[in-house]
């Protein structure tokens, strides 16, 4: 008998903060500078150098904690996490352990375990065929990234599908983006997610043994990686096997999951309070400063889109949870008028289908152009089908919708001008069997006649008007 399993997923998210300088020294953050040009004795871990915590990073962490409804600690401390690796110059990472800056919190019904501050590791580059440290001819270290401020956000294990995990992470990303605390770009590594995955018999409330899936660097890979791990665990359990607690790597190219280390190889990090740093005492003033900078969060924005523009809940979520879509939407509505807001949202769906994950503001379709197109459709100056053709052209080459319509002769044909009625008449005459079937009550057959009219008018005719004329001429 097959047992139905329920996946239980928790996420650990690392967010690179967009401060000017690093977490514990005055080096500016690096954006592709030549290797080892953004370093100093502190972030190189030279003998005698000491860390000093970045007040701006603490401010950002407080903003994140407030935005996520966390409990903010009056006093939190840094710990040392000790392990040897060439990308870790001091032999320990300065992180937070049992006294983090934020605990608890909630985002869209998923509870958070904690939010804490730490420093990023440097970047290792392995020279040779293997591309990994084992078997490489040589490994070199670029310390530019070392010491970049990170916030780690840990959820409770309350997600139950790869899709939900992806959607929730999208919302988190939008929330962080709206705070302006990070570039939150997964491909560039400013947002990184690990997933803890376990299965349990459906209906059970106990947690199964979990595995940790490391560093999936896009939303798609996150979803695919978790799905692959769920499948793997399901297969193991169905075959009567047991899940080993281990750290795994998902290879998006092959879909394969490989083990990085088992529980036996798990390290003892020998955490202890960092004696080189003083505790963070969170003052009322610091909290007030963080609260003052929060701005509008995505969930509040979605609510406003419903109330202010009358958007459907689903549209409002889609737009608000990807901040750049929300921004574009508001810019376009300003041109198209609030009455057309839902139409703007619908046409943005068309736009997103064409440009994918790209920020629409960076596309060739300027918000006023989309607004103009929506207005033309609303005023029946252009048919929906023709408008899609205009949008294709806008995406490909940019420009003004009105000019494209004029240039390509895509303007709508008016029902009253005998031309469209004539076209309908010719279509009926050309396909008497279709006309017969429609008269006989087969409504689907009307599609053949509409299609013929659209071909004839190259899509410029308004579909509703054509339907009306066909039925009128058939005496229905």
């Amino acid at each position: 008998m097959n047992v139905a399993y329920e996946p239980v997923i928790g996420l650990e998210i690392h967010v690179q903060l967009k401060t000017r300088t690093k977490m514990f020294c005055g080096c500016e953050l690096s954006f592709g500078e030549p290797p080892n040009t953004r370093t100093c004795p502190v972030c190189l871990g030279l003998p005698g150098a000491l860390p000093v915590a970045n007040a701006r990073a603490i401010h950002f962490a407080l903003m994140i904690g407030l935005a996520l409804g966390c409990e903010i600690a009056d006093r939190s401390i840094f710990h040392r996490k000790n392990y040897f690796y060439p990308d870790l110059p001091k032999g320990y990472q300065i992180s937070q352990y049992d006294e983090p800056i934020c605990r608890g919190g909630d985002l869209a019904g998923v509870r958070l375990h904690r939010v804490h501050l730490e420093e990023d590791a440097a970047k290792l580059i392995h020279i040779g065929e293997s591309g990994r440290i084992h078997g490489s001819e040589q490994s070199v270290v670029d310390f530019n990234r070392g010491g970049t401020p990170l916030v780690e956000i840990v959820t409770e294990p309350e997600l139950h599908s790869p899709e939900q995990a992806r959607e929730w992470l999208t919302l988190l990303r939008a929330t962080l983006r709206s705070l302006g605390v990070s570039d939150v770009n997964m491909e560039e590594g400013s947002l990184r997610a690990d997933a803890n995955v376990s299965l349990r018999p459906a209906g059970s409330s106990e947690l199964g043994r979990k595995t940790e899936l490391k560093n999936m660097n896009s939303f798609r890979f996150l979803e695919r990686g978790i799905a692959a791990e769920i499948n793997r665990q399901q297969a193991v359990l169905s075959a009567g096997g047991k899940i080993e607690q281990e750290t795994l790597h998902f290879d998006p190219a092959t879909g394969a999951i490989t083990s990085l280390r088992s529980k036996e190889e798990a390290q003892d990090y020998r955490y202890f309070p960092e004696p080189d740093l003083v505790p963070i005492a969170t003052t009322a003033q610091m909290l007030a400063d963080a609260a003052a900078e929060l701005g509008e969060l995505p969930s509040a924005r979605a609510e406003r889109f419903v109330n202010e523009y009358g958007l459907a809940g689903e549209s409002a979520h889609v737009l608000a949870f990807r901040g750049e879509l929300g921004d574009y939407f508001e810019a376009a509505v300003a041109g198209a008028g609030s009455a057309n807001a839902q139409q703007v949202a619908n046409w943005m769906t068309q736009l997103v289908a064409r440009i994918g994950d790209e920020d629409p503001a960076q596309s060739r379709v300027a918000p006023p152009a989309l607004a103009a197109l929506v207005a033309m459709v609303a005023e029946r100056k252009v048919s929906a089908a023709a408008a899609r053709e205009v949008l294709d052209e806008l995406v490909a080459r940019g420009g003004e919708p009105a000019a494209i319509v004029a240039q390509r002769g895509l303007g709508a044909l008016e029902g009253e001008d005998g031309d469209l009625a004539g076209t309908v008449e010719r279509a009926i005459a050309a396909d008497p069997s279709a006309a017969e079937r429609i008269r006989g009550g087969n409504d689907k057959a009307i599609g053949a006649l509409i299609g013929a009219v659209m071909r004839e008018t190259r899509g410029r005719a308004d579909g509703a008007e054509v339907t009306r004329l066909i039925r009128e001429q058939l005496g229905l």
């Binding site: 871990g45 030279l46 005698g48 000790n82 060439p86 020998r270």
Partner: protein, 479 residues
């Protein structure tokens, strides 16, 4: 000129330079040639020439010997370790920079126990330091090079560091003054760390006035590069007190009897009599947790060092084992070859104490003891201005006498570590001589004062009054 200049304390020399009676370049050359030609093993590097430009500043250009573990730009800073042999840092420690700016140019770097771990200076990768009073004996440690250099007239004054007695104990064994300031008073930036929550820089000098003068330029505004450094609440002033009237001195029973050589105790008792004669009220006091200080110290300091020394991994600087096949082998043989036995012992102790499952029993408990000791001192300071005790339980011992017995070596520190754990200032002044247990030429003994945080001015004043009354003379070994 030579004999005259050598006889001057650092403060007297600075004053003579100020009056135009002494040329700072000649003074530098005098000490430079003495340091370059020394046979005590006190220096690991000596400046080749006086600084080109006159340094000026309040200290006039009186040269300063600096413990090896202070980073000095472009100058070997090896912390007594093979793993840092030839390492020349790209920057200078804050206190060394402040002192240079104030007019104390770098004379040389002094030998020390490796990474400041030791009480005899026998743990240096660059050889032991000899005690100028008896060259068959140790100078104490870990700032043994600094202490021997000042006592032997190789430097007018020196900078050391104290984690669990590393300034005070060698000062006592070499017959000079050594002061460990309040934790946080002096910046630790650029000090190659041993145990971060305990390490403090401080002066080793011929007399109390020199200690005050050097200290006055080490403390003040907090260092923005060391967030554990603190603003000193007042300027350090030159001591002038000639009596101890109205001062209450507490003598902790736990730290003034058992485990101390009779000669050292006799000198201590004699100094208490001098204090009484100067008007002090001397009474017994209690530091009930002090007997546990050594055990707590030898958990906490190794724990911190096991982490602080992780950066010596052969990747970026210092020694790297040339023949390792892979990363793990490179780490292992670099650290195996680069560190000495005592350093490895403490790394292993500390790694164990922090391990999962042992943390609470060792590190956690030691931290609680530390808090108790600080509370003991706070209670004592409600009744007493200072707590006084001998600095070291013994006079300088013979080279090799304790190297085979780590516990006997650690036990040297038991009078010094309580103040270290409490983070309070403490200093040692020479208070006479005592014959070693087996007999022989009498050797210097140190008297220790410990006071509340930031009580350095009052402590220096009391030490100055005692110093005048005691009349200790160390000039014979500077010739």
């Amino acid at each position: 000129m030579t004999d005259h200049a050598l006889a001057l304390t650092a403060s007297q020399a600075a004053a003579a330079i100020g009056r135009g009676e002494l040329d700072p370049g000649q003074l530098f050359d005098l000490y430079r040639s003495r340091a370059a030609g020394e046979r005590l093993g006190a220096f690991t590097w000596v400046a080749e020439a006086a600084p080109a430009a006159a340094t000026g500043g309040a200290l006039g250009g009186v040269p300063l010997a600096v413990k090896d573990l202070f980073c000095t730009e472009g100058v070997p800073s090896q912390s007594g370790s093979r793993i840092l042999e030839g390492y020349r840092p790209p920057y200078t420690a804050t206190v060394v920079e402040r002192l240079a700016r104030a007019g104390a140019p770098l004379l040389g770097k002094t030998n020390q126990d490796e990474f400041a771990m030791g009480s005899s200076n026998e743990n240096s990768a660059f050889g032991p330091v000899l005690n100028p009073w008896d060259q068959t004996r140790v100078p104490g440690g870990s700032s043994g090079g600094s202490a021997a250099a000042v006592a032997g007239g190789l430097a007018p004054w020196a900078l050391g560091t104290d984690t669990g007695g590393s300034i005070r104990q060698p000062a006592a064994l070499c017959g000079i003054v050594g002061l460990k300031p309040t934790y946080g008073a002096a910046s630790r930036y650029g000090m190659i760390a041993f145990a971060s929550s305990l390490d403090q820089a401080g002066p080793l000098t011929r007399d109390v006035t020199d200690a005050a003068l050097l200290l006055s330029h080490m403390v003040g505004e907090p260092d923005p590069r060391d967030c554990t450094s603190l603003r000193f609440p007042e300027p350090i002033v030159m001591p002038s007190r000639t009596d101890l009237r109205g001062l209450r001195l507490g003598v902790p029973a736990e730290l003034s009897g058992e485990g101390i050589e009779p000669g050292v105790l006799a000198a201590f008792e004699a100094t208490l009599e001098v204090a009484r004669a100067l008007g002090a009220d001397v009474e017994p006091c209690a530091l009930p947790h002090a007997p546990h200080a050594l055990a707590a110290y030898y958990v906490l300091a190794p724990a911190e060092c096991s982490s602080n020394l992780a950066r010596f991994d052969g990747v970026r600087f210092g020694y790297r084992s040339p023949d390792a096949a892979d990363l793990l082998a490179m780490y292992e043989s670099t650290r195996h070859d680069g560190f000495g036995a005592e350093v490895k012992r403490r790394i292993m102790l500390g790694t164990f104490a922090l391990s999962s499952g042992y943390y609470d029993a060792y590190y956690g408990r030691a931290q609680r003891v530390r808090t108790k000791i600080a509370t003991d001192f706070a209670a004592a300071f409600e009744r007493f201005d200072f707590v006084v005790m001998p600095t070291s339980p013994c006079v300088a011992f013979e080279l090799g006498a304790k190297t085979a017995d780590p516990y006997a070596m650690y036990a040297n520190d038991f009078l010094a570590v309580p103040a270290s754990l409490a983070g309070i200032p403490a200093m040692s002044i020479p208070n006479g001589f005592a014959a070693p247990p087996g007999g022989g030429t009498p050797l210097p003994v140190g008297f220790q004062l410990a006071g509340p945080a930031f009580s350095e001015n009052r402590m220096l004043d009391a030490a100055f009054a005692l110093e005048q009354a005691l009349g200790f003379d160390g000039s014979s070994i500077r010739a």
